[in-house]
């Protein structure tokens, strides 16, 4: 039986009227990397914050390895703090500017020592800090410096060193490379992959960038307006994506290769993202879905297994064997009807866009 580092059961997080997360169930097997992918406002970061209990979920359960931490108070939560760490997107905003790097990285251990639950082998905090810095590729001297003296990439390495110093069983990485330049992004992604392989922690990698996770993740979960629309093994999500939204996401990200990119046709979904205060009835994606039918507007699709490795999808149009429509095969005109077509006769319209692309090649 698979052992899980994390189990989320029907997680719900509402902020007043805003239904940020609305029933997310997800398991992370021990030592594996699950990518949680979604666009702005999908609720992916809120899920991360519920897991490290920066937020107390409205409903549902958060279970770490063996403990239900959903509603533990601060004191009862403390023993579990060392089991789960988080790295945020913006290292400048998440490192205290008045502390030295050494203080920042060693802080989790100092707090444990104060409570008296610091394991014997980590009693020497300064050597633990040096070791943690070395692991993330920083020299021990960096411990004396202030965060503002470091570059963005170095600061993100400091965040990772702090997150890993307590040897957590689960790391939540919330867009850890989105604020970094391409070349620096590559080194931080490589570092995370190496550390994960060497130390064996489980990881929830939250991102909006599907291309970044193909290289890291064992499993991918795709989120839209507070709910998971599809989840499964990486090869399945990239190879045979079943949900129209996953397909659109994959087709939308431009590929850094001119010939390939110009022969692709992104699925255009329209600009209007519905609000999480008043999500659409039925399938939440139906307002932007190019293949939605009547049923999608009224009936909420259940998440069900459609393939090996626990590949699940919540869409009425996907058959039980995983076959179904692929919005990437639609002529662009249909996909972008609400978007680029204007009422003007023949002078505008998506068909012309397609021809223009053809000519540009």
């Amino acid at each position: 039986m698979t052992e899980y580092a994390l189990e989320l059961e029907n997680l719900v997080m509402h902020f007043g009227a805003v239904r940020a997360v609305d029933g997310v169930s997800l398991q992370i097997p021990k030592g594996s990397v699950v990518a949680l992918v979604g666009e702005s406002g999908s609720g992916k970061s809120t899920v991360g914050r519920c897991i490290v209990r920066l937020l107390e979920p409205t409903e549902g359960t958060v279970r770490l390895a063996d403990a239900d931490i959903t509603h533990l108070n601060r004191r009862r939560l403390r023993p579990h703090r060392r089991d789960v760490s988080i790295v945020f997107q913006d290292p400048a905003g998440s490192l205290d500017p008045r502390l030295t790097v050494g203080d920042i990285v060693g802080e989790p251990l100092r707090l444990m020592r104060r409570r008296g639950d610091l394991p014997a082998e980590q009693r020497d905090i300064s050597s633990a800090v040096a070791e943690s810095l070395r692991r993330v590729g920083l020299r021990p001297e960096v411990a004396q410096r202030s965060p503002h003296e470091l570059s963005g990439g170095q600061r993100q390495r400091v965040s990772i060193a702090r997150a890993l110093i307590s040897s957590p069983r689960l790391l939540v990485a919330d867009e850890p490379t989105s604020a970094l330049d391409v070349s620096v992004q590559a080194s931080v992604l490589n570092l995370l992959a190496d550390l994960q392989r060497d130390l064996g922690f489980a990881c929830l990698f939250i991102t909006h960038d599907l291309s970044a996770v193909e290289y890291l993740a064992d499993e991918v979960a795709v989120m839209y307006l507070g709910q998971l629309v599809e989840q499964g093994p990486r090869e399945r999500i990239f190879g045979v994506p079943a949900h129209p939204y996953t397909q659109a996401l994959l087709s939308a990200a431009p590929v850094p290769d001119p010939s390939t990119q110009r022969s692709r046709r992104p699925v255009l979904l329209g600009d209007d993202l519905p609000s999480a205060i008043d999500p659409p009835p039925g399938c939440r994606f139906h307002t932007r879905c190019p293949v939605a039918v009547e049923r999608c507007k009224t009936e909420v699709p259940e998440s069900r297994v459609i393939g090996e490795g626990g590949h699940r999808v919540a869409c009425h149009l996907v058959n039980d064997d995983g076959t179904g429509p692929d919005v990437r095969d639609l002529p662009t005109a249909t996909a972008s009807l609400t978007d680029t077509t204007t009422p003007e006769p023949k002078s505008d319209g998506a068909t012309e866009v397609t021809t223009a692309r053809g000519a540009a090649r």
Binding site: E39, S40, S151, G153, D181, V182, S183, Q185, A186, S187, L189, N190, A193, H208, D209, L210, S211, A212, E214, Y215, R234, F238, A248, L249, L250, S251, A252, A253, P254, V255, P256, D257, P258, S259, T260, Q261, R262, P266, V267, L268, L269, G270, D271, D272, L273, S336, T338, D339, T340, T341, T342, P343, E344, D348, E352, V353, A356, R357, A359, A360
Partner: protein, 327 residues
């Protein structure tokens, strides 16, 4: 593209006065944009790409010293008086910025803001400007434009706002459109729509475009030609297909290999790293600024600055990558 370039930038240098002394942001950059051509200027944070864009129509603060020449259809813009610049901005050179919310005025309807451009530059009446605003909103793919024209910016989504910015920019049919990271603040599914609009407009209006971006995917999608910038200098420029297929500057090839791309990095494939950091420069040295990060640097590289070779594929490097690299 038989006629001369619409925009010709020659030896453009920008230095900022700062509390810590001078800062060289752009060093003798030369660029040419042909009629109807899309030139992408690519680079990472701090490479000087946005400063270059801002200096083209005199948008930099007074702490900046700008040298060199920027000619728009033969008219010199560097050192031009305020009146000349004012008549050119918005009419012949138009900008699209990264963050549409901060570029739009929250207290006026989008129709009024687009209309203002037309009233000021072309002298349309208020009614005519409004009618034209509706047409422009349709052109950039805003559904029910007749209704949307009376919306305030906050009533529109991020993608819609960027479409409004584009409508405003092309309102006077400018010769050159400068798009500074036009899709960076947007989600990928929204970005795809904006790229589509830019592509369609370029085909329809034949506007020359300077596309400033850090995203090689966006470059691959839109550009005809590419200039790669590093630490204030142009290090390589070539046709877009040529540049991606045969990058010659080690920085360009490193950047290409560092970009994650779906379908290319599955499994154990590692991303390429470029060690070290982009330097911040007080003054530009007589050396290659990439030398200390370069995997194939020679002694010459830190002793003498390489010049851009002439030709259609130009590279400023003493030891360029000559073999096609596998990416």
């Amino acid at each position: 593209m038989t006629s001369g370039p619409v925009l010709k930038v020659t030896d453009l240098s920008v230095t900022f006065r700062t509390e810590d002394g001078p800062l060289s942001a752009v060093d003798r950059v030369s660029l040419e944009v042909g009629d109807g051509e899309v030139l992408a200027v690519v680079g990472e944070s701090g490479c000087g790409k946005s400063v270059t864009a801002m200096s083209l129509a005199g948008l930099l603060p007074r702490s900046a010293t700008v040298d060199g020449s920027v000619q728009l259809d033969g008219v010199e813009l560097i050192g031009a008086d305020k009146r000349t610049l004012r008549s050119i901005r918005g009419r012949e050179v138009a900008y699209i910025f990264q963050e549409p919310m901060t570029s739009l005025n929250p207290v006026f309807t989008v129709g009024r803001q687009i209309g203002e451009v037309l009233q000021v530059h072309i002298g349309l009446s208020r009614q005519a400007a409004r009618r034209r605003a509706v047409e422009l909103l349709k052109l950039v793919g805003i559904p029910s434009a007749e209704r949307r024209v009376d919306d305030y910016p906050h009533q529109l989504s991020g993608g819609m706002r960027q479409r409004v910015m584009i409508a405003m920019a092309v309102a006077c049919d400018p010769k050159v459109l400068i798009a500074d990271e036009p899709t960076t603040a947007l989600d990928v599914t929204i970005q795809a729509g904006i790229l589509d609009v830019l592509r369609a407009l370029r085909e329809r209006l034949g506007t020359s475009v300077v596309l400033i971006t850090h995203d090689l995917g966006v470059v691959a999608d839109l550009a005809d030609r590419v200039a790669v910038m590093y630490a204030g200098r142009v290090v390589e420029t070539a046709d877009v297909h040529e540049l991606f297929a045969r990058p010659q500057h080690p920085y360009t090839s490193g950047l290409l290999a560092a970009s994650p791309s779906a379908g290319r990095h599955a499994g154990t494939h590692r991303l390429n790293e470029i060690p070290g950091l982009v330097p911040v420069l007080a003054s530009q040295p007589d050396a290659c600024t990439f030398a200390d990060r370069c995997p194939q640097a020679l002694d010459t590289c830190s002793a003498k600055q390489p010049a851009l070779e002439s030709g259609s594929h130009r590279v400023a490097c003493w030891n360029p990558v000559r073999q096609p690299v596998e990416v």
